[in-house]
Symmetry: C2
DNA sequence: ACAAATCCTACTCTGTTAGTAGGAATATGT
DNA sequence: ACATATTCCTACTAACAGAGTAGGATTTGT
């Protein structure tokens, strides 16, 4: 498993806030209660999102959080990258530039690099808006049984 | 990270054995030495591969392991699935049939399911033969800088 | 002043990862 | 027959990451 509860809950929070677009600030306790998640734990997660510039926050009574941008301007990759630190499927691919010393001769490296790109490519193509709109076709593609057949699959 | 050293080393072993196709049995110590990996640790990993029917083994002097099939008949997904147990990127997608009780109302589930399929799709399309042939085009696709542009990218 | 909220630091419990250790069973060459 | 090289099998351990908990300081609306 590559995405922990941290990233998953972060996405859940973002989706919740996206659904509230146009409304005011939403408090942590509201979200925690709605999603049946630990408020204290969510606090530490939302703090990462906030420091990463994903949210606007307001302290004090009636305070809370809201999205800093439009839902369509968040892709899922950036949300998960921020909270998880990395989405790399293996240790030997951590950051751009940093690589294993055996890289030059490693015959499996292209596989891992390709997998990394496949994951990154998938997640960066999907936005928060896609999720709140339930865009199954985009998310599930040819695997979606409730979608009509796509033209690319012929 | 989704693939641990277990799966990574397992793949390395399989690639090593694939390169030896047609030769006899290769001993664990040979592989461990060649790859600079702990022999004892490799032992526990190769045992999984063997029990999973991926290998043929021979005990005693001059014994060792070899592939049970042709390199082109192994896809990477099955090797990693066997050793890692699962390749699911999140906990809420574990096995076919088993699913989270919130599945029916969860708006992020299609995303995770789609990601899972993207990973599975990528890994099952690549074979051991692709790796030993260094088929960068198949592994890296449009991200491969040393490959000529593909027709699908236009 | 008070209550409701965000912010901040530190701690804990648990499971997984990445091995290590020791020996039993089995086949081969001499 | 015997030493040796190998696979097989069970058990153990140290370190780290994941998933929270705990307690309070700070800010703001009423």
């Amino acid at each position: 498993m590559m995405v922990s509860t941290k990233g998953r809950y972060a996405l859940t929070v973002m989706v919740d806030l996206a659904r509230n677009e146009g409304g005011g600030y939403v408090s942590l306790s509201d979200i925690a209660e709605k999603e049946h998640l630990s408020m204290k734990y969510l606090e530490s997660i939302i703090s990462i999102l906030n420091k990463g510039g994903m949210l606007m926050s307001l302290r004090g009574k009636n305070g809370g959080y809201k999205l800093a941008r439009d839902p369509k301007d968040y892709n899922i990759s950036e949300i998960l990258l921020l909270t998880e630190g990395t989405l790399a499927p293996v240790n030997c691919i951590m950051q751009e530039g940093v690589q294993c010393e055996k890289a030059a001769t490693c015959s499996t490296l292209p596989l891992w690099a390709g997998l990394d790109k496949a994951i990154e490519g998938y997640l960066s193509a999907i936005t928060l808006e896609d999720i709140i709109n339930g865009n199954r076709k985009k998310m599930l593609g040819d695997y979606c049984e409730s979608c009509e057949p796509s033209e690319t699959a012929e």
